[in-house]
């Protein structure tokens, strides 16, 4: 048994080391500088603590019933407290030996990590000190990192002036981290059992009330956060010094997101209406409260909400996987740019001159251009839709991707029309009754706030239309088409019209978003409309929960808002974002807020085993029965 736990501790240390090695290779210690060692030690402590917690959970399971079954119930991603109610008598008098066991394990794990780190930095330092060139590329990043890790300057390493004591110090640091983790884990374990008992007690005393209180707290949270944002905006209030802008942005994102949860938590009927209206007012007040940076980020977030809602019609409602959605976004943006920027492009300008329009003045204002941009995008949607009518699944995906690229390449290369890579500059800003928005609102609204407000209102409108359409016979036809195209057609759904409507409506929304984006950017370039925009839009509806407008808002907040919050860690933000994307998909594949209707997730019957089941989220578990999952496939075979 001790050998087993020792191996487990060493394994924990190895995992922690692997992660730290990755951090070292991507240059984190060099970024942190002098305090790199303690920070890395703390990270390893986090790893060890997580491992010990898992073990302790498994252990408390075995305390009463030491059968092999307890080990088989390997805790997955849920690291939280497991059902330890049976084990409570054991945990109550936490024996001294358990604590020592914990400490030993923690220290062992810490020492393993520390020794390996010391070996790594020692070998690198010795090599560098002796003038061994490891690799030209590694030499660029290794000296700074290793120096930070050892706690000396790169110059000292080069002169081989690193005392052995430094390496001992490293090991000690990590051992200390392991000890810390063990103590925290042990303490949390005893307090955890206490807290659980307390929770059980309160539940027994006043069952439903606690639930109610939690619910009210959930509903009230966004309002508290909104108030907090407003307070942060008051002159003289400063939290966390210069990072205030970012912190406030983060809270804004959370407030908006938690508002959606609050809506879901509130009881249907009057309460939900009240909460909804108040939340709406609160969110509408945001553009007036936030500063320029936060407004600009939130504006972008809601432009992407519009995109997401449009794409959701195509992908989520009609089930047509579109990877080239950026094309319509670009069409909307460029249409508005042609109409509103002075001398936007050689062709357009000469055409305008021919028509007697002064090239310096915009042809159409924002509002007049809006229907034009929407119609152009819709036409684009139909034009794309016609050739792909017969394609399904991944073929559709790659063709739409190709279409998006073709549009971008045309924008890039048709210099006479689009001004090529130099883009279109000085696109005019949306005005309100011919006045600049800040003059109408007495200076309360910055230009970015105005864009945010427009984005908010437009996305609300788009969401409204999308939800209403989805509730109508058109929505049912889309869904039927997604379920089984042939049967839908035989049931009376005009496939061509229904598909083209999905493409056209989706494209219209993207066109609106594109126009607003052009107004936000003022200068636009073909590179703004790369494939990654499509991928972002698709990712946000999937992360948020496909088919669910609330989920899409959350997805946009997470995918377009969070990276701006992570700005402080500039070059690490994409790696962090990418890792989060993968983890998110594994932990919660149905998205953050999946749509109620589509809880039973999009599925191709063939790729599922006959006995497969999908747990879309914690609330509902829908088992697809063997016979029906195979239906579509068999139905096709029946044709002979």
């Amino acid at each position: 048994m001790p050998v087993e736990s020792a191996t487990r501790a060493v394994r924990t240390g190895l995992v922690a080391f692997a992660f730290l090695a990755y951090l070292i290779f991507i240059g984190v210690p060099g970024k942190i500088g002098g305090s790199a060692l303690p920070v890395l030690a703390l990270i390893s402590a986090l790893f060890i603590w997580l491992a010990l917690r898992r073990e302790s959970a498994a252990l408390s399971g075995t305390a009463v019933d030491p059968g092999p079954g307890a080990y088989q119930k390997k805790p997955g991603w849920e690291i939280g407290p497991r059902d330890t109610s049976d084990a409570s008598p054991f945990v109550d008098h936490l024996p001294f030996s358990v604590v020592t066991g914990f400490v030993l394990k923690g220290v062992l794990a810490g020492c393993t990590t520390g020794l390996l780190i010391a070996v790594l930095s020692g070998v690198s330092a010795t090599a560098m000190g002796n003038g061994v060139s490891i690799q030209p590329v590694f030499d660029k990043i290794v000296p700074v990192n290793v120096a930070a890790l050892i706690g000396v300057s790169p110059g000292q390493i080069a002169q081989a002036e690193v005392p052995l004591l430094r390496f001992v110090l490293q090991v000690l640091f990590f051992a200390g981290a392991g000890l810390l983790a063990a103590l925290v884990a042990a303490a949390a374990r005893s307090s955890q059992s206490q807290a659980e008992q307390l929770a059980r007690l309160t539940t027994r005393l006043s069952g439903p009330t606690t639930v109610n209180v939690a619910r009210y707290a959930g509903v009230a949270l966004p309002f508290l956060l909104l108030a907090y944002i407003a307070w942060l905006g008051l002159p003289g209030v400063s939290v966390f010094g210069s990072n205030e802008g970012t912190i406030r942005l983060l809270i804004t994102l959370i407030a908006t997101g938690s508002g959606l949860f609050a809506l879901r938590l509130s009881l249907p009927g009057r309460e939900r209406t009240v909460v909804g209206v108040l939340l709406g007012l609160g969110v509408l007040a945001m553009p007036f409260i936030l500063d320029q940076f936060q407004n600009s980020v939130m504006g972008l977030v809601f432009i992407f909400v519009m995109m997401g809602l449009g794409l959701n019609i195509v992908v989520g409602y009609a089930g047509l996987l579109d990877l080239g959605y950026v094309a319509f976004f670009a069409i909307g943006a460029y249409t508005y740019a042609f109409l509103s920027a002075p001398f936007s492009s050689p062709y357009v300008s000469s055409l305008l001159l021919l028509l007697g329009v002064a090239p310096e003045s915009p042809l159409l204002g924002y509002w007049m251009a809006l229907p034009v941009a929407m119609l152009t995008a819709a036409a684009g949607g139909i034009l794309l839709g016609i050739p792909v009518l017969r394609m399904r699944g991944d073929y559709l995906a790659i063709v739409t991707l190709g279409f998006g690229e073709i549009i971008r390449l045309f924008m890039l290369n048709l210099g006479e029309l689009t001004n090529g890579p130099r883009g279109i500059l000085e696109i005019s800003q949306p005005a309100l009754f011919g006045l600049s928005p800040s003059s109408v609102t007495f200076g309360l609204l910055s230009s970015q706030g105005w864009i945010f407000l427009l984005a908010l209102v437009s996305s609300a409108l788009v969401a409204f239309v999308a939800i209403r359409l989805n509730d109508s016979r058109l929505g049912r036809a889309w869904f039927a088409m997604q379920e089984d195209e042939d049967v839908a057609e035989a049931t009376g759904v005009h496939l061509v019209r229904t598909k083209l409507l999905a493409f056209a409506i989706g494209a219209t929304f993207a066109g609106m978003a594109g126009q607003l984006y052009a107004a936000r950017q003022i200068n636009i370039f073909p590179e703004n409309f790369s494939l990654f925009v499509s991928i972002d839009a698709l990712a946000l509806i999937i992360v948020g929960g496909i088919g669910s407008p609330a989920g899409i808002v959350l997805g946009a907040l997470a995918l377009k808002g969070l990276p701006e919050v992570l700005r402080g860690v500039d070059e690490y933000r994409i790696v962090t974002f990418a890792a989060l994307l993968v983890i998110m998909m594994i932990v919660r594949p149905a998205g953050i807020l999946p749509s109620a209707r589509r809880r039973i997730q999009i599925n191709d019957p063939n790729e599922m085993g006959p006995d497969s089941k999908i747990v879309s989220d914690g609330e509902a578990e829908v088992v697809q029965t063997a016979g029906v999952a195979k239906n579509a496939a068999n139905g096709q075979e029946e044709a002979m």
Binding site: L469, S472, A639
Partner: protein
Amino acid sequence: MTALLSVQRVTKVFGGLTAVDGVDLDIEERSITSLIGPNGAGKTTLFNCLTGLHRPEVGEILFSGSSLIGLRPDEITDRGVARTYQNIRLFGRMTALENVLVGQHLRLEASHWSAVLRTARQQSEERAARELARDLLDFVGLSGREGVVSTNLPYGDQRLLEVARALGSRPRLLLLDEPAAGMNPSETDRMMDLVHRLRDEKGITVFLIEHDMKVVMSISESVAVLDYGEKIAEGTPEEVRANARVVEAYLGPEVEVQEATESASH
């Protein structure tokens, strides 16, 4: 009196295999007709030709006087032909009610704009549609199951729901592809009763494929038999039962024939 459905010399070829070979068939209004034949005889292919899923190479299909050839499946449904499937093909993630509502898709007129604005007309149309859907579910015997996701319905109920969905488009001719397949005797009885009621209460002409001879003999007014894509017999159940070619097709003159038939169907 002209037939409601008139199939003339219809031929459908897949690659080298002639699945349906010059079939002639007339179906009278308000009749119940069965189509039988060994596995792989081309029955479902004929159905697919009738509903526009396949386009026959040769032949003509007249439905109450006008041709169905070249029409899209949804146009054919619009003319008044609805069908069910051999292996149930419901919209799995929709509720029973929604399935029937999709069935009514063609019969709803309100524009998509009015759906966005929720105009009074659109709302009353939706209400009527829901009403009708409930009635249809009641009619097939699924009252109280409106909200159940169709995948979660028992097998027999799924077959009934397919019928209800087909009824949603208010058909004049209903094609049932093995409606009693896989059902237990009491479910089969329910289905037979339903077929009768479809004709008697709704005035719908029913054309069905069925393997269960008991069902065929007890509900059909006329029976057509296909073998290797050809129509080999037609008439009342009694006539067909007595037909030598039919017996031969089913039992086979020799054992090899039967084996060939089976392998062709798999």
